[in-house]
Amino acid sequence: MEVRVKVFGPAVELAGSRVVCVRVEPGIDEAALRNQIAAEVPPLAALARQGRLAVNRAFARPGEPIMEGDEVALIAMVSGG
């Protein structure tokens, strides 16, 4: 399946886009998906490794499977004042 991953903030500039598309097996977990983003979109590698994924607008639990139709977003907070 294709997962369209929303990105925000500095990640938009790094990715050159507000959405990043990756092809994965249904049921992939959030850590594996972050690794795949890091591998396929090198400018996002650091944010993908340190960030978290949100699935359907809530942070994914460790091991949570991602299914067709889920809204997925990479949430990488950059420290700030």
Binding site: K6, F8, G9, P10, V12, E13, A54, R57, A58, F59, A73, I75, M77, V78, S79, G80, G81
Partner: protein
């Protein structure tokens, strides 16, 4: 317990006066104001990008958790979306508790967790042209 979350376009106005609930002995209001520099460079303001739907939910979850763990009587949160000029307020947090210690600790904890867990990003705006182009649609022109 009373929890209110508001994400508003642009700078925050001062909230209306209101009487605190029964048993409240301490009311703390924290306001975050946009400073004139970011990483040592002069700016005209900050542009806040909000993950709509998720940010409100995380703010509410955080407010309820912090209110419960510190025994607060009320938590009210306002956060800006879009452009906020230097000197204006982009974040306001109000907490009410029986005694001051609970609210003081809760304010510190809330803001630390907000910065870590709530999907809102800020972008420094260095010149006015940039800010007037898209005052309420953060980041879309990046």
């Amino acid at each position: 317990m009373n929890v209110e979350i508001r994400i508003v376009d642009g700078a925050l106005a001062r909230p209306a006066e209101r009487g605190p609930g029964c048993g409240v002995g301490a009311v703390i209001a924290f306001e975050g104001v946009v400073r004139g520099e970011e990483n040592g460079r002069a700016i005209t303001g900050l542009d806040y990008e909000v993950y709509e739907g998720m940010a409100e939910r995380e703010l509410e979850r955080l407010a309820v958790e912090v209110a419960t763990s510190h025994g607060l009587m009320a938590v009210r949160v306002w956060h800006s979306r879009g452009f906020v000029a230097v000197g204006a307020c982009s974040f306001r947090l109000e907490m009410e508790s029986a005694h001051r210690q609970a609210s003081l600790r809760a304010v510190a904890e809330f803001i630390d967790r907000l910065k870590r867990d709530v999907p809102i990003w800020k972008r420094a705006v260095e010149d006015r042209a940039d800010s007037s182009q898209a005052p309420n649609r953060a980041g879309q022109q990046n």
